[in-house]
């Protein structure tokens, strides 16, 4: 899987990743694992894949670490400029569109799967997914990265509309734990963040504090 996404040797890749975002009434919960690999070596076991783009807009990055960092930096600049011109907080959809523009235009060169999530006064909590190839769509819950394949069934069966913030945090932590247990390229700690009108609250769940399942 890493050869597929990293054509150059020794490129840091975190297509080996599990990322997730869930909308709730009043905001979004986002989460990610913390492993970055270069081949079989874990280059960073405490990576932060939840990147702020603006005060209340984050992105979860999967794919080539270099590509996603470069895109996120470019979008942060563009969005900051746009926000100053507009003299108000930018919309999450605007951020997602900027990601999409770049991911679609340079789709041949890039390997980036990004989930954009945040809160704005107009539409509340929103999650937009911009997978490899450059499509953009809004979803109430979105998963990404290599570990995401293993949790589609879990997410489909456990997601309900109208969950509270605490329920979303528990749902995200459990789903990411299950993905990390099965995906050899995801692991480390679970990083979570809640983005809402009040601001951003971040937390980290360490390995020994992850939820336990009877067989895992």
């Amino acid at each position: 899987t890493l050869e597929a996404c990293c054509s150059r040797a020794w490129t840091s890749c975190f297509n080996s990743t599990s990322i997730m975002a869930v909308e709730f009434e009043g905001g979004v919960v986002i989460g990610a694992d913390s492993r970055t690999t270069t081949g079989a070596y874990i280059a960073n076991r405490v990576t932060d894949k939840l990147t702020p783009i603006h005060e209340r807009i984050f992105c979860c990055r999967s794919g080539s670490a270099a590509d996603t960092q470069a895109i996120a930096d470019a979008v942060t600049y563009q969005l900051g400029f746009h926000s100053i011109e507009l003299d108000e907080a930018p919309l999450v959809q605007t951020a997602a569109s900027l990601f999409r523009e770049m991911c679609y235009r340079y789709r041949e060169e890039l390997m980036a799967g990004i989930i954009v999530a945040g809160w704005d006064p107009r539409r509340g909590g929103q999650v937009y997914t911009v997978p490899v190839g450059g499509m953009m769509t809004r979803q109430p819950v979105s998963v990404g990265g290599s570990g995401s394949s293993y949790i589609y069934g879990y997410v489909d069966s456990n997601y309900r509309a109208g969950m509270s913030k605490e329920e979303c945090l528990k749902f995200t932590a459990e789903a990411l734990t299950l993905a990390m247990e099965r995906d050899g390229s995801s692991g480390g700690v679970v990083r979570l963040a809640v983005v809402s009108e009040q601001g951003v609250e971040r937390q980290v769940i360490l390995g020994n504090q992850l939820p336990k399942f009877s067989t895992v």
């Binding site: 394949s149 589609y152 069966s157 299950l178």
Partner: protein, 217 residues
């Protein structure tokens, strides 16, 4: 999505299928979807039964090349019935699994098939054995296989409990298969379940419109 497509190619040839087996209190349930596909866009059969009976209380389901699987199970069925006659008693589930493993291991260069063997015998009760592509034999309380299984690892890891009742195990299997069929385009159709206990073997078919629905349907 493109990234998922490339993963299944790196993993190797896999039948468009989802299969599973789970032990419950008093028996095993073995189950599969019913779709046979040619390439990724043509469904050659909507109602194929992938659960093969190799003896009275022992069933097999296959992942991999259908041709290889049929050849192996035909050979295993013959060897197993011969063994059973010689021993003058019903065969052990482990014996069935061992026969499959011998065939898979000795012919590993040519074959591209993995199996789940599940059943009931007098010595150890309900058992599930997995024979993987290269010929490894492993006993597990529950197992999933096929291309659709990737999507339900999280679900089965979270939901499995040892010593479930028949109703719980049936619900578990049906839900898991329905979730996999909902995400994997080469799994689909109806859900075939076979419930194997000491007393009987029951074949349950859950048609498409009776499958559980999830939040986005």
């Amino acid at each position: 999505m493109d990234s998922h497509h490339s993963y299944s190619q790196v993993k190797g040839v896999s039948t468009g299928t989802t299969i599973l087996a789970v032990k419950f209190n008093g028996g095993v349930i073995i189950g599969s979807d019913s779709r046979a596909s040619m390439g990724e866009s043509y469904v050659s059969s909507k109602t194929i039964n992938k659960l093969i009976q190799v003896h009275d209380r022992i069933f097999c389901c296959i992942a991999g090349s259908l041709a290889d699987a049929q050849a192996v199970t035909k050979m295993a069925k013959f060897q197993l019935s011969f063994h059973s006659i010689q021993m003058e008693s019903p065969p052990l589930v482990k014996a069935a699994a061992s026969i499959m493993r011998e065939l898979c291991y000795n012919n590993k260069e040519e074959l591209q098939a993995g199996f789940i063997t599940a059943g009931w015998d007098r010595k150890k009760g309900p058992q599930i054995y997995v024979v993987s592509l290269g010929g490894m034999l492993l006993s597990q309380p529950y197992t999933i296989g096929g291309s659709g299984s990737t999507y339900i690892y999280g679900y089965v890891d979270a939901k499995f409990k040892p010593d479930m009742s028949l109703e719980e195990a049936t619900q578990f299997s049906t839900n898991a298969l329905a979730l996999a069929m909902g995400r994997d385009n080469v799994s689909g159709g109806v859900v075939h379940l076979v419930v194997i206990t000491e007393a009987e073997v029951k074949h349950v078919v859950v048609p498409g419109n009776k499958l559980p629905k999830f939040h986005d349907e």
